[in-house]
Amino acid sequence: MASLKALKLRIGSVKSTQKITKAMKMVAAAKLRRAQEAAEAGRPYAQTLERVVASLAGKVQIGEGSSPLLAGTGKQDVHLFVVATSDRGLAGAFNTNIARLARRRADELIAQGKTVKFYTIGRKGRAALARIYRDRMAHGIEPGDLGKLTFADARGYADDLIRRYLNGEFDVAHLFFSTFKSVLAQEPTEQQIIPVQVKVSATPSADSGMAAVEYEPDEESILAELLPRNIAIQLFRAMRENAASEQGSKMTAMDNATRNAGDLINRLTIEYNRTRQAAITTELVEIISGAEAL
């Protein structure tokens, strides 16, 4: 059995760990609220853009002249996995879950004989993937604090992706991130971003009433301008979702850690008291038997 002094020290150290995890939980909770608000504030833009792009893409004929962002390269050989994680750990399974989904999909595609490359946004995802796919890492970005990312940053990543796409570095790009469902549930998600996947609704809803929409300049040019922007907004949305998911995951993880530390302290305290009582009893027995011997 450990000595009294060792137990006391141990309890002290677990207590200070608990203080730290508790503080981290509070910080995550505060940041989560802000991240959630930010994610919601970005929705009107994303929804409007998505609706416009879908209605335009439905009207434009895909042919020789159409944008490769819409039409694709005509091949499906090289897949680029854009894996968005965070730069920081201590957020439960947040980073691991995203990396695991990417790995599973990558193995599927590799088994089909496709080439898979990784483009990581976030240090943690890069670390997890580079261990297995050392020679497939195309590029890595370290975005820093996810909550502070602006649209301009996302635009920069999107421009880089589009440049690589037009250079023929890949045929299809998939984006991996974590969708924020609730504080307790964050779902790793895959989304194809290049070429743009258009959800053409079977029954054109809101637009059908307005038969003649005027276009300035024309459908093709508008689409050509909106498609790159659409990719940027998808990336931006993924970052925002990730930021909220990361804080949610961190909060849960730190809450668990705080609770575990509490349990550990209780156990150690019981052990400490037991040891102390045992020591007192031994001492008493010694004194009494000493007195009896006289």
Binding site: A38, A41, G42, P44, Y45, A46, T48, L49, V52, L56, T150, F151, A152, A154, R155, A206, D207, G209, M210, A212, V213, E214, Y215, E216, P217, S221, I222, E225, L226, R229, A232, I233, F236
Partner: protein, 84 residues
């Protein structure tokens, strides 16, 4: 009144009923009043002029990287960045 919305990727900047908005379209400025015909247009970097009532002094907002849609509901302006 014309229902006017100005949104950026970061937030919803404006959502209000106004009299008229003058939009700096790529092919020239155009004013949007109530019941404007459906229209989609790209926007050059420039200033939106918002007239709250007929004949009032316009309020201007500088936007960059924009796109405008006029539909049955009103006017929606998407902008990458908004200043002022």
């Amino acid at each position: 009144m014309l229902h006017f919305e100005l949104v950026t990727p970061e937030r919803l900047v404006r959502s209000e009923d106004v009299y008229m908005v003058v939009v700096p379209g790529t092919e020239g400025d155009f004013g949007v009043l109530e019941n404007h015909a459906p229209l989609m247009s790209t926007i050059r970097d420039g200033e939106l002029a918002i007239y709250r009532t007929q004949g009032s002094t316009p309020e201007t907002i500088r936007i960059e990287g924009g796109f405008a849609e006029v539909n049955g509901v009103g006017l929606v302006v998407l902008a990458e960045a908004v200043t002022g």
